[in-house]
């Protein structure tokens, strides 16, 4: 399973690099120690950076939600044109075909690397629901739920499968 996970991370390397970049950005903003900032490692940390646990509810939530949000936004933006032009309406044309195909690969790779590491997700749940105030518990709830579930889905490569299914549904 880990082999498949790492293989898919390398297959979706662009998204993995961007995800790692966002994680490091959040660590810097939250002043959290980063121990290893390689974005694409050949282990279960692929697409994630090694850092100390986020100390507060806010930073723990940001660590999971900010990269998720920007990767998802990127996936939507980069995927919209190719999904419509290439998959749905299926326009012919070499330049359009190549640029849209690459753009769609970027979109899928961002989607497949949107979710946090399980440890970060667990730390987020712990911090938000044990140290967070009532407002944080309410406001963060949807984000916590999505990213927490997503972390498990990504661990078992379900997100890649979902991307494939969505692509086929648009095309057929």
């Amino acid at each position: 399973m880990t082999g498949l996970y790492i293989f898919l991370k390398y297959l979706t390397a662009p998204g993995a690099l961007v995800r790692g970049m966002w994680e490091q950005r959040v660590c810097r903003s939250s002043k959290v120690v980063v121990e290893d900032n390689r974005y694409l490692r050949r282990d279960e940390m692929a697409s994630h950076i090694e850092h100390e646990l986020m100390p507060t509810a806010r930073s723990a939530f940001a660590m999971c939600f900010v990269p998720f949000f920007f990767n998802m936004l990127g996936a939507f933006i980069f995927g919209l044109i190719p999904a419509v032009m290439l998959l749905f309406l299926q326009f012919r044309g070499a330049f359009l075909g190549i640029t849209c195909a690459v753009s769609y690969w970027f979109a899928v790779s961002l989607f497949c690397n949107a979710f946090p590491l399980i440890e970060d997700a667990m730390n987020m749940v712990d911090k938000v629901y044990h140290q967070g105030n009532i407002l944080q518990k309410i406001l963060y709830a949807p984000g916590v739920a999505i990213t927490y579930v997503g972390a498990y889905l990504e661990k078992y490569s379900v997100t890649f499968l979902a991307a494939l299914v969505i692509s086929i549904m648009i095309a057929v």
């Binding site: 662009p14 961007v18 970049m21 980063v34 121990e35 694409l40 299926q90 012919r92 640029t99 753009s103």
Partner: protein
């Protein structure tokens, strides 16, 4: 007391004697069997030596292992010493290897305060930033490439949405105008696939074939995923050849010439047994077409309604190529005339499932309510409203039925207004002229009545007897509209 002591001494002397006797016995045996005993003794001694050697060996082994144990002991001692040293010497930072580890963050914290501060500002890697820039660049390139397709995109997207929502005719019209002007190297394959499917649904099978020949090369058509398009070419060929053959047979019927009904039907039946010529290039004629044209001949020959219905049922049963376009609308209209509400509903649903914009479906359903023993004009109007909503813009084929419904409801003014609008936008036919004249007669509008009568007469037709009888008060409006003759 002395006697007791004496007894004890005697007992001791006896036991000593017994022991001496027992000890003497082996000696006697030894003397008797001396060579055998010596042999046994030497064997025993040998065994004892073996045992001694074995024990000695074990002892030596145990002695040899002692250094290992000693080593372990030495290690633990060394650890103890190291711990002791650690207790005294500070732990160095894992990052810089120079400063002492900070203990503010736990006993085993591996970094010093300086490194910790620096690691909070770990420099960003270029790979992530570069990848983001590349992604944006590719996105801009794809957007730039898409701009030249903007006009096509709007047309095809609109057509696709209409087609996808069941508005087949609207979608097909838009697709058709797009495909006829699009260049093949930039064409939308979605448009091609949808219009081919639409052609299949509506019966434009030859148009489908020519589009396939235009878009797909012979090699592409041999690919398994393009098999359905290759099949369309074959089907098109079969249907065209069958149609030509059938047309030859039923020509007298279609052109109003004299004909022998049984001979025509036998001719159609014979097509099952006829092998197409080499020129025709097909294996057999299409059975569905043969059966459908049997119905057409029955219809022209005014065979009983039940027999015609039975024939169309047969056609429906043998349909295995989604060829509902050939017969389903007629089947529904015939079911409406026969008054079989259940069958009308079933066929009406099937027609709308294929094409929500099928005017024939609405017409057949409304006719069913018109020809009930007690007509239901409200239901007719409901169906007309549904048609108005679903039919493509400009399709006003539901209006005459709506006018009939108003007449049946007794709303003459609404009926005339509807027909005014309809006649202003449509070509005149015998049926619509008769209906317009009927509406005019209902409202006492002599001008329109006379105009319609004159138009028909000038075209070589006459105003329907039913309309004239109504005008002369010889028939009620219900009686006129209950007629299934087709003049109104």
């Amino acid at each position: 007391m002395d006697e007791n002591r004496k007894d004890e001494l005697e007992a001791q002397e006896e036991s000593v004697k017994a022991e001496e006797q027992a000890a003497d016995l082996p000696e006697v045996q030894e003397t008797q069997e001396a060579p055998a005993a010596q042999e046994q003794t030497s064997e025993l001694e040998k065994e004892l030596e073996d045992i001694r050697d074995m024990f000695q060996q074990e002892l030596d082994n145990a002695t040899n292992e002692t250094p290992l144990i000693q080593e372990l002991e030495d290690i633990s001692e060394a650890d103890g010493e190291a711990d002791a040293e650690e207790e005294t010497e500070p732990r160095l930072c894992e990052c810089c290897g120079e400063n002492e580890c900070s203990e503010k963050y736990g006993e085993d914290y591996p970094y010093c305060d300086d490194c910790r501060e620096l690691m909070k500002k770990y420099p960003m890697r270029w790979s992530g930033i570069l990848m983001t820039i590349v992604m944006i660049a590719v996105f801009i390139a794809s957007a730039f490439a898409s701009v030249s397709y903007a006009e096509d995109f709007v047309t095809v997207a609109d057509a696709a949405l209409n087609y996808g929502s069941g508005k087949v005719m609207t979608g097909m019209t838009a697709y058709h105008s797009y495909i006829s002007s699009a260049s093949d190297d930039k064409i939308s394959m979605k448009a091609v696939k949808d219009i081919l499917e639409g052609f299949g649904k509506t019966g434009y099978i030859t148009d489908a074939a020519s589009l396939i020949e235009r878009i797909y090369s012979e090699t592409q058509l041999k690919m398994p995923w393009n098999k359905k398009y290759a099949d369309v070419l074959t089907d098109s060929e079969i249907l065209t050849k069958t149609y030509h053959k059938v047309s030859e047979i039923i020509e007298p019927v279609m052109y109003g010439q004299e004909y022998d009904y049984d001979e025509i039907m036998a001719g159609l039946d014979a097509l099952y047994e006829t092998t197409p010529t080499e020129e025709e290039g097909i294996e057999a004629y299409e059975p569905l077409f043969i059966e459908y044209y049997r119905y057409v001949v029955m219809s022209f020959n005014e065979e009983p309604l039940e027999a015609q219905l039975e024939q169309l049922k047969k056609v429906d049963e043998i349909n295995d190529k989604d060829m509902e376009w050939a017969y389903l609308a007629n089947y529904c209209a015939l079911a409406a005339r026969s008054g079989d509400g259940e069958l009308v509903d079933e066929l009406y649903d099937r027609l709308l499932k294929i094409n929500k914009e099928d005017g024939n479906a609405y017409s057949a359903k409304a006719s069913y309510y018109r020809w009930l023993e007690t007509p239901d004009p409200d239901k007719m109007l409901e169906v007309c409203e549904e048609a108005k909503t679903n039919l493509p813009a400009g399709d006003i084929s539901y209006m005459p039925t709506m006018a009939i419904a108003y007449l049946l409801k007794g709303e003459g003014a609404a009926a005339l207004e509807t027909m005014d609008e309809f006649m202003a936008q449509s070509a005149y036919t015998v049926q619509t002229c008769n209906l317009y004249a009927l509406c005019a007669a209902y409202n006492g509008n002599e001008e329109i009545y006379d105009e319609m009568k004159s138009i028909l007469e000038n075209s070589g037709y006459e105003l329907s007897d039913l309309v004239e009888k109504y005008k002369k008060d010889k028939m009620t409006i219900e009686e006129v509209l209950a007629d299934k003759g087709g003049s109104i």
